[in-house]
Symmetry: C2
Subunit: 232 residues, 2 copies
Amino acid sequence: MQETAGAIRTRARAALRRAILDAALDQLATTGADGLSVRQVARQVGLASSAIYRYVPSRDALLTELILAGYDQLGEAAEQAEAGCDRGDLRGRFAATARAVRSWGAAHPHHYALLYGSPVPGYAAPEETAGPASRVPLVLSGILRDAAVAGAPPPPRPGPEPDSGILEPEVLTTVLAGVAPRAATEAVLVWASLFGVVSFELFGHFVGSVADADRFFEAALGSLMDRLALPG
Amino acid sequence: MQETAGAIRTRARAALRRAILDAALDQLATTGADGLSVRQVARQVGLASSAIYRYVPSRDALLTELILAGYDQLGEAAEQAEAGCDRGDLRGRFAATARAVRSWGAAHPHHYALLYGSPVPGYAAPEETAGPASRVPLVLSGILRDAAVAGAPPPPRPGPEPDSGILEPEVLTTVLAGVAPRAATEAVLVWASLFGVVSFELFGHFVGSVADADRFFEAALGSLMDRLALPG
DNA sequence: TGTACATCAGTGAACGCGCGTTCACTGATGTAC
DNA sequence: TGTACATCAGTGAACGCGCGTTCACTGATGTAC
């Protein structure tokens, strides 16, 4: 079946768009987000700098794409790692997810920093990033929900629930549905702690105090899972 | 007593140096570290851009000074907050320290990001920053050591200590002397978790999940202190 | 008291650079009649 | 089959900008004799 000229052009366009994004990823990996420049990207793909604007409206848009790609890569890695675990092994699932986050960060430190480091000054993350950004949290909350179903339902204490109002109601009724507010708050803390540990390691704050980063991370994992009361 | 001319000059030099640093701090606060420029600093103090080099050898050195100043400001805030507490109130001391960290970060988000956000690309933190950077950890470890003295000494379990080798030996024998390796590892995790929570809040990762940041932080504090087994 | 000299903060022009973005254009390819 | 037209990827020059750093210099102030 003969391919139409239009289809060929469309495909070429898409391929070049990918090449541009790959070049940008490449530069992010070596130079960091600040060093990312439209002109260098153009040089790398072998185009005039002005040609980039046929594919990407601005440098900021390019940054946005890198952020989206980062959250998606990281989310993908976490999801795959978790999916490879026995469903009943809640601790294994959590550990696999956390290790995937750490590994991805170690493999792409500048990219990780773009997502979880200093906000880029003068750049406001558009709403489109919210979805991909929540992939890792979604994996984690899935584990918690399974734990809430499997374990004894938390006994509703009398009186007003002390932790209500801390988290967004929408979160408590959707991603963390079935998880008691107290445990849900703890879960958000664990989430932040996990990234806190990974960031501290990648950003060099453990130099001088942690001697064996691998073992430290495993110990941290155990502690975090205990706080979530994951059985095992 | 007549002041010598030399003394006057020296004082003037010091004052101008301070003015330059203040201008740099100012720009850091508004523009962020990337926006910091020698020429803008010069404009703000009313000097030719070349004159700055009589006071600061390079832009990188200026950055280093800002980092040092940041760690010192933050450390100072933490130390003062902790010093205002009843010595026996271990939980109060921890909470005061942690709240000081969060407050300082909220008041100086760009400065906080310079210290705890993405490493500045192409810039390696010189060793001089190690001292000031450890002021907050020192406050926290001081509380833990007091707790170790006050509480029952951890029973040395038979067999090899399972957590030895994770932290630098030097840390275990100095700042965390008297704290069992297991608890010390936990302490480092708590330290990273604290900054993880503060960073997540300041960098916007709680948008959409945490509704009441103040209450969340207090809840987090309680949980972290429980993990340190602080009595109260 | 006066003069020659040294010190040193500060100047302003310049070097050489890279950047994001715009715009009128070329030239190849495909389409309509 | 041939011709006029439309589409569109890509070009290259240009605009206007700000940057870090250097360097020969001015001019005021203090010092030595």
